[in-house]
Every structure is written in structure tokens, then in C-alpha cells.
Symmetry: C2
Subunit: 207 residues, 2 copies
DNA sequence: GCCCACGCTAAGCGAGCGCTCACTTTCGGC
DNA sequence: GCCGAAAGTGAGCGCTCGCTTAGCGTGGGC
């Protein structure tokens, strides 16, 4: 790999931005535990144990258990938004950009399934302020996808009677991958991404 | 309405089968609480309180808190399966049956959103045996949708390269409705059902 | 060689959890 | 009018939760 920040696939190694090392280990342990059992069923003792530390060590790096979830959710949403923005702003037709957005968004939900599960399904465990911050990010996610679809409608590439509803459906399709995808299943993240991109192009009447 | 079991819309009144009355009130309270906060964040005191009873009353009708979730999940999956079977076995073309299945399944996820949330997202809170029973029901749900799509492919109505993957996508679309739908939103369950049925017909190349 | 700031642990606090128990109330059968 | 079964309550048990506190080991600065 070219730098310490990139994998062979070119994807940024996740959680690089979390320092120091002990804080990152705790956060990764929390992602795994939250994804497996859910936020409320996960104990601080479990998180600390997975990170190879005592329960008290958690509180040196994070004020509360909720702050851990907040940090995970914030970073995860930033990454998701980044993926969509990259696809939305590249060169190419609306169909190409939509297919790119869907396939890369799906690849993330499948390949980083533990993170995606926490990001998509544990929002309600956050307090009001943290929740509001994340909801704002979700609106930006929605706007990126809607923007591509509107471009396609304007250029005549797409035939979409209900842009808002179709945007919702496209995001539904992508997000639900985090619910059912498993590494033991018959499909790779790449295969699911390609399939779903094709299905979405059909949904917008681009084929 | 024709009988005590049916609403004006012809839908069977839910939880009719749960008796006695106190057990039903507790179960309905549990559905609301689980849907709002999640199984693990819900206390038995909260459930009993919503039903207007003391915490101890819960244990007269249910052995454990988990038994409540199990009963809810079982009844909910039975109802979901019933909806899909009714659509799959009616008269008509594959396209008509698929549109009927999707629109009624989506209407259920939107209109009975609290139940659907518990049914679709709290599976992991069940113990191994209960979980296995529910997973078997989900396979039947999958089989019903796949059957309609296979019919359409066989008759030449549909153009679907990947039947299993497309089945997964159709169910994803329907199920995710329980995550985002809200009664305060701009759409009625009927509108979302009609929109999603149309999008699914596009996905299978039926238009 | 001393020191102290930092990272961490062992022990444990108060609170709230799922669930139980001893008891009361209600009510149909005779 | 009495009785046993069924349904419900108030009090609280044993436990585990999120989180705190007092103190220990260690390594860089001087």
C-alpha cells in the first residue's frame, strides 16, 4: 500500500483519526459490541474487555458510554457522506454517477457491516443534541442522492414521477444491506453493489 | 364492520387472538415500548405501567420479558406471511400479484409501524430456540416473494438476471419502510405502497 | 537520581434491573 | 354465606449496570 492510511483497495483505513491508540482500540471494540448485541445490551465491561483493558480505562478516554456511540456515529456518517459526495461530483452522466453512488454506498454497508449497523440502527440511543447533529448529516446524505436523480430527470436520462419517494427507496435499498448482509453469505460486497446499482437504474427508468 | 374481528378496511384487528384481556393489554404495551426504545432499553416496569398495572402483574401472564417479545414476533411474522401468501395465491398475472404483494406488505410496515419495527429489528434479542423458529418463518416470507418473481420470469413477463438477489432487494425495500416511516410524514401508507409497487415492477422489467 | 504527570487498575458506590413472594381482593359454584 | 381459584398488589431480593475514586507503575525532563 502506498501510505499507512490506505489499504490495497485504496480505501482509507477506518478509525485512523482516533487517537491515542488505546482510545482507538476501545472505539473499535465498541463498534463490534454495538453491532453484535446493540447499544443497550452492550456493557462498558464488555467493551473494555474486548479492548484488553479494565472497565475504568474507558472513562479516561471517553466521558460516557454514549460519547463512544456518538463518536462512532459521527465518523461513520461522515464517511458515508464522503462516499456519496465523491460519486455525485465525479465526471459522467447522471446514470453513471447514480450507479457509482449506489454501488460504492452498498459496498460500504456490506464490507463495513459492523460499522454500518451501528450507524444506521443505533441512532435512537443517542441523546437529543447528538441525535440532532446526526439527523442533519442524514439530510445531507438524502440531498446528495436526490441531486443525482434530479440531474437525470432534468437531462431526460431518467423517468421518475416521484423524485423524493424514489430517493427514499434508493437509500432504503442501500441501508437495508447492513441488516441482512453477512460475510458467510454467497455474495461479495462488490457483487451486491453491482446488482443493486443495476436495480436502481431500472427504478429510475435509465435502461 | 361485518364482524368484531374486522375493521372497516377489512383488516383483521390485531392481537385479537391474545387472551385474556389483561394479557393483550400488556402485549400491546410491550409492542409500543419495544418499538419506541428497543427491547433492551425497555423495562418490565415501563410495560406494566403503560398497561396500567403493577410490575408483578406481568409475570402472571408471561414467564419472562423475552416471552413477550417472542409472542409479538411470532404473531407479527404470521401476519406478514399471511399478507404475502394472500397476494401470491390470488388470480392474476405475476405482475399483478407482485404489485399486490409489495403494496400490501409495505402498507402493513407503514400502517402497523410499531409492530413491524419490533418484528424486523428485535430478532437478535431472542434466545436461540425462539430465534430459530422466527428465522424459519422468514425463509417462508422470502420463498413467497421469490415464487412470484420466478413465475414472472417463467411466463416471460419479467426480465430478471438474478432472481435470488432481486428477491432480497424487493424485501429490503419493503422492510426498510418500518425504519423511516412516520405518521407525521407527508405520505400515507397507501401512497408509499403504490409507489413502491411501481418501483418494484420497474426492477423486474415488467413495464 | 529524583519527580511527577500520565495511563491504568482494583475496588466499590448508588441505582435500577428482572423477577419473586406473601398477601389481598374478586367472583362463580353450591 | 362460605370456599377455592384466579388475578392483582406492595415490598423487596439478588444482581449487574454505568460510573467514580484512591492509588500504583513507569518513563521523560532536569
Amino acid at each position: 500500500m502506498s501510505t499507512a492510511q490506505e489499504t490495497a483497495g485504496g480505501e482509507v483505513e477506518p478509525w485512523e483519526e482516533v487517537t491515542p491508540d488505546a482510545a482507538r482500540r476501545l472505539l473499535i471494540a465498541a463498534v463490534e459490541a454495538f453491532a453484535e448485541r446493540g447499544y443497550h445490551a452492550t456493557t462498558t465491561r464488555d467493551i473494555a474487555g474486548r479492548a484488553g483493558m479494565s472497565p475504568a480505562a474507558l472513562y479516561i478516554h471517553y466521558k460516557t458510554k454514549e460519547e463512544l456511540l456518538h463518536r462512532i456515529s459521527r465518523i461513520g456518517h461522515d464517511r458515508a457522506l464522503d462516499i456519496l459526495r465523491t460519486a455525485a461530483r465525479r465526471e459522467g452522466s447522471a446514470a453513471e454517477r447514480l450507479a457509482d453512488a449506489v454501488s460504492s454506498f452498498v459496498r460500504w454497508h456490506a464490507g463495513r457491516r459492523t460499522t454500518a449497523r451501528v450507524v444506521q440502527y443505533e441512532l435512537d440511543a443517542l441523546g437529543p443534541e447528538a441525535r440532532a447533529e446526526i439527523v442533519a448529516l442524514r439530510r445531507q446524505v438524502d440531498a446528495e442522492v436526490r441531486g443525482i436523480i434530479e440531474d437525470g430527470v432534468a437531462s431526460g436520462e431518467f423517468d421518475v414521477p416521484d423524485v423524493h419517494g424514489t430517493t427514499l427507496a434508493v437509500l432504503s435499498l442501500c441501508i437495508d444491506v447492513a441488516r441482512w448482509f453477512t460475510v458467510n453469505g454467497p455474495r461479495t460486497p462488490e457483487e451486491v453493489g453491482a446488482l443493486y446499482a443495476d436495480l436502481v437504474l431500472r427504478m429510475v427508468g435509465a435502461e
